[in-house]
């Protein structure tokens, strides 16, 4: 296990470095000059040159990349071209919104998807099994921003139950108010995400329901619930956990769109603003942090899978297939 952990960590760092280099190069390939975004109509060429000097976009690319990497190693993400504020602390301030949003939405999606997916599989021949199946299929086709706008129209504009967007100025000082602001975005992401999760849970359960070992357990006298509990769940959990890892990462990225709909000051809106302003340090910072989060989630999902499934552990322990 120790060797596995070591290898996985090295792989993680390597991926991160490759991602950082790729990000840097791709951003520089985009047309446009960040200095232009800073100036208004009427700017003289001298003013543009001065702006470029100030933000350092006149330096050779390799030099810019080197200093950014060196900063990254010190956990310093640089300073925004536009706001002139350090990027790291601002990302931290935004995570206060994005992390709870992601985790709550993910948790809610799992709570919806597990029972619904199970019932949709277990009762796939009944009318309600078919309805659940159909609804989840529909859910996959509906874009998140549309669900968000629908929820805003009903719960914020019509019923006046929840705010239409925004986040308290003092963040989590009053947890009730913060949660209120997150309610609609959380439900939006959870609905979209549970739709696809239901499909996975359903197909994993169907596999288990049709399996020989379950039939054997029943034949040996186990009740359906008993057989499901002892043999079925664990088997069904393996593919579901690996999907959950991917889905959690997707939620994190899906927050980008949903934060914009609800004007939440999270990582997603920071990215959108950064792109609009050609603010390379901000874009790079947000993407590096998100990449890191996605890689870590994948890593964690792998570990959990190994804990559930002894077959996977055996492979690694023996070092041979």
């Amino acid at each position: 296990m120790a060797r596995y952990l070591l290898r996985r960590t090295a792989f993680l760092l390597g991926s991160l470095l490759a991602a950082a280099a790729l990000l840097f190069v791709l951003l520089r390939l985009l047309p446009g000059d960040p200095a232009n975004a800073l100036l208004s109509v009427g700017a003289t060429p001298e003013q543009i040159a001065a702006a470029r000097r100030q933000i350092g976009s006149d330096l050779p690319l390799l030099e810019q990349f080197g200093s950014w990497l060196a900063g990254l190693a010190r956990l310093d993400l640089g300073t925004s071209f536009v706001s002139r504020l350090p990027v790291g602390p601002e990302i931290a301030a935004r995570l206060v919104v994005t992390v709870p949003l992601t985790l709550l939405a993910f948790a809610l999606a799992v709570v919806i998807a597990l029972p619904v997916g199970f019932v949709a599989a277990w009762r796939s021949d009944r009318w309600y099994g078919l309805v659940l199946n159909g609804v989840s299929q529909l859910g996959i086709a509906v874009p998140a921003f549309w669900i968000g706008m629908l929820l805003v129209t009903v719960f914020a504009l019509r019923l006046r139950l929840l705010p239409a967007g925004g986040f308290p100025r003092d963040d989590w000082a009053e947890p009730g108010r913060a949660l209120t602001s997150l309610a609609l975005p959380v439900v939006t992401i959870a609905l979209v995400m549970s739709a696809s999760l239901i499909r996975y849970v359903r197909s994993a359960t169907l596999d288990v329901l049709g399996s020989d070992y379950l039939r054997t357990a029943r034949a040996l006298g186990s009740s359906f619930a008993g057989a499901m509990w002892r043999h079925g769940l664990r088997n069904a959990a393996v593919p579901v956990v690996s999907i959950l890892g991917i889905e959690l990462a997707t939620t994190f990225l899906g927050a980008v769109v949903v934060e914009s709909v609800f004007t939440l000051p999270g990582l997603g809106t920071m990215l959108v603003e950064g792109i609009a302003e050609h603010d390379y340090p901000v874009i790079q910072g947000v993407l590096v942090v998100s990449t890191f989060a996605v890689l870590v989630i994948g890593f964690a999902a792998d570990l959990v899978q190994r804990l559930i499934d002894p077959r996977l552990r055996a492979h690694v322990g023996g070092g041979r297939p």
Binding site: V82, L104, L108, V111, V152
Partner: protein, 501 residues
């Protein structure tokens, strides 16, 4: 294990639902007496990029800080007049080249330091310095030197007469630049101090207890920033904001019109939508062709379809709030037959084809489509090329690599750009350049007005650009609010007079 986990999550979900039902805030409860301690929640689409207007802070910082946090020697009031602010008065030498300003006494910066003439000197110098990215830098080029002979006197020497100096100084913030980074903090003399700026979300101002003038009529203001107009209007409907600085979503007006909970005010705007030709290149180097295009487009119809009766049609660059305005809408009237004749006369009887560089944000794409169909009627084919603001800057503004483009020009008194042959549209008429130069060096305001009127008439005669329409300036506020500015001249938004209740 799984069921326990699920249980925890279900509990969390319940907490969420419970919070949801408790947190309802309704819009505008009618409390009748004005509350001087009330905080005014302002909704805006223009978040500052940073807090320094000489370092690319943009429109947002002008809106939040001009007159609220920072003050100039002079103030441009909401109805366009220039008044003394930190200056108590000034004298001009006979040759018009030396301005002596007397400073108001007893003014303190938010840091507690007393305002002196040396601060005014550094404040003006930072706007005209080499590093300055101020949009106003080019209008202050006549300044030769700034001196502070004593604490209460500032002397500005000019290399040539500049009748707009006092007006232009109303945009120069008087700052205390000692020991503070003004891109992320502030030290001004205004009625408010910066309480907190939460990037991507809010900027809050609280009253400055040591303010020299009248204290604000409210207990502070919070600017809430939105990236789209729908979200902004939703916030107004749900009472999360009390007022919207500038309504940019015409479709949304219907939901406030006729509703007693809201007031809609239409003020004077200075924002013009331009179809700007590249006057350097064929076919638009020929005034007759430009006139034909101007006459072929039914501006009123476009305005009606975009703004549903708000805004106004203009015949030239000068908006009605500028002193040198006159109605020139009849110079290039909407007349398709006239357009056809002019095209034939210019040798384009069969029309021609050109690319219209169109910024990708409203209302430009809508306007481009409309112009395309209008010009098709006179045989001109338009290829719409949608570009980002940034591409526009490089391609059109810097490299002059375009045939025609759409752009909104927001400032007042910006007709003077037609006197600069190097400006992006490349209008080059020696007579106009001369008039505009002379106007700046005029001895009296009357003389200046007369010269700029001449220049303005000439650019209309030449159809230097096609001025499509003047935007409306619409402020929507909860009806329990009063004392807010309605014109928002040049993006300013004085918040200190706003009362709630």
């Amino acid at each position: 294990m799984t069921s326990k986990f699920a249980g925890v999550m279900a509990a969390l979900a319940l907490v969420l639902a419970a919070c949801g039902s408790g947190g309802g805030e309704s819009g505008g409860g009618p409390a009748r007496t004005p509350d001087a301690g009330a905080t005014i929640e302002i909704g805006s689409l223009y978040e500052p990029q940073n807090l320094d207007n000489t370092a690319g802070g943009g429109q947002g910082v002008t809106e939040a800080f001009n007159g609220n946090v920072y003050e100039g020697l002079f103030k441009l009031t909401d109805d366009g007049k220039v008044e003394n602010l930190l200056a108590e008065g000034y004298e001009v030498s006979d040759d018009g080249l030396t301005y002596t300003f007397k400073l108001r006494q007893g003014v303190k910066f938010h840091s507690g330091k007393a305002l002196t003439a040396a601060d005014v000197k550094t404040s003006i110098e930072r706007v005209i310095s080499d590093d300055s990215q101020s949009a106003r830098k080019s209008s202050l080029t006549a300044i030769d030197s700034v001196e502070a002979p004593d604490d209460a006197t500032v002397v500005v020497k000019l290399s040539s007469r500049s009748i707009s100096l006092v007006y232009n100084l109303s945009y120069v913030w008087v700052v205390n630049a000692e020991g503070k980074d003004l891109t992320t903090g502030e030290d001004g003399t205004g009625p408010y101090t910066l309480e907190n700026w939460k990037r991507g979300s809010t900027l809050s101002l609280k009253p400055f207890p040591g303010y020299w003038g009248t204290a604000p009529a409210n207990g502070g203001v919070v600017f809430h920033y939105f990236t789209d107009a729908t979200a902004l209007n939703n916030a107004l409907i749900t009472g999360a904001v009390d007022i919207v600085t500038s309504q940019q979503s015409p479709d949304a007006l219907a939901q406030f019109a006729g509703n007693p909970d809201y007031k809609i005010s239409e003020g004077h705007s200075t924002t013009k939508l331009l179809l700007a030709f590249n006057d350097r290149k064929a076919p638009f180097d020929e005034p007759l062709v430009r006139k034909a295009v101007s006459s072929a487009i039914d501006d009123a119809k476009l305005l009606e379809s975009v703004w549903a009766g708000h805004g106004s049609v203009i015949g030239s660059m000068v908006p009605p709030t500028d002193p040198w305005y006159e109605d020139l809408t009849s110079v290039n009237p909407y007349d398709v037959e006239l357009a056809k004749r002019q095209l034939a006369q210019a040798g384009y009887a069969d029309g021609f084809r050109f690319t219209l560089d169109t910024p990708n944000y409203d209302p430009h794409p809508t306007a481009a489509t409309f112009i395309k169909s209008e010009l098709a009627k006179v045989g001109i084919t338009v290829d719409i090329n949608v570009i980002t603001a940034d591409e526009w800057y490089t391609k059109v503004y810097k490299n002059h690599d375009f045939a025609a483009t759409l752009q909104e020009h927001v400032n007042d008194r910006d007709v003077v750009w037609y006197g600069d042959p190097d400006f992006y549209w490349g209008y080059d008429n020696e007579q106009v350049t001369d008039w505009i130069e002379q106007a700046e060096q005029a001895k009296t305001a009357e003389e200046q007005t007369e010269l700029l009127k001449k220049a303005n008439r000439q650019i209309a005669e030449d159809a230097a650009s096609d001025w499509i329409y003047l935007y409306p300036q619409i402020v929507v506020a909860a009806s329990n609010l009063s004392g807010y500015p309605v014109n928002g001249l040049n993006s300013q938004f004085y918040a200190y007079g706003i009362k709630k209740g």
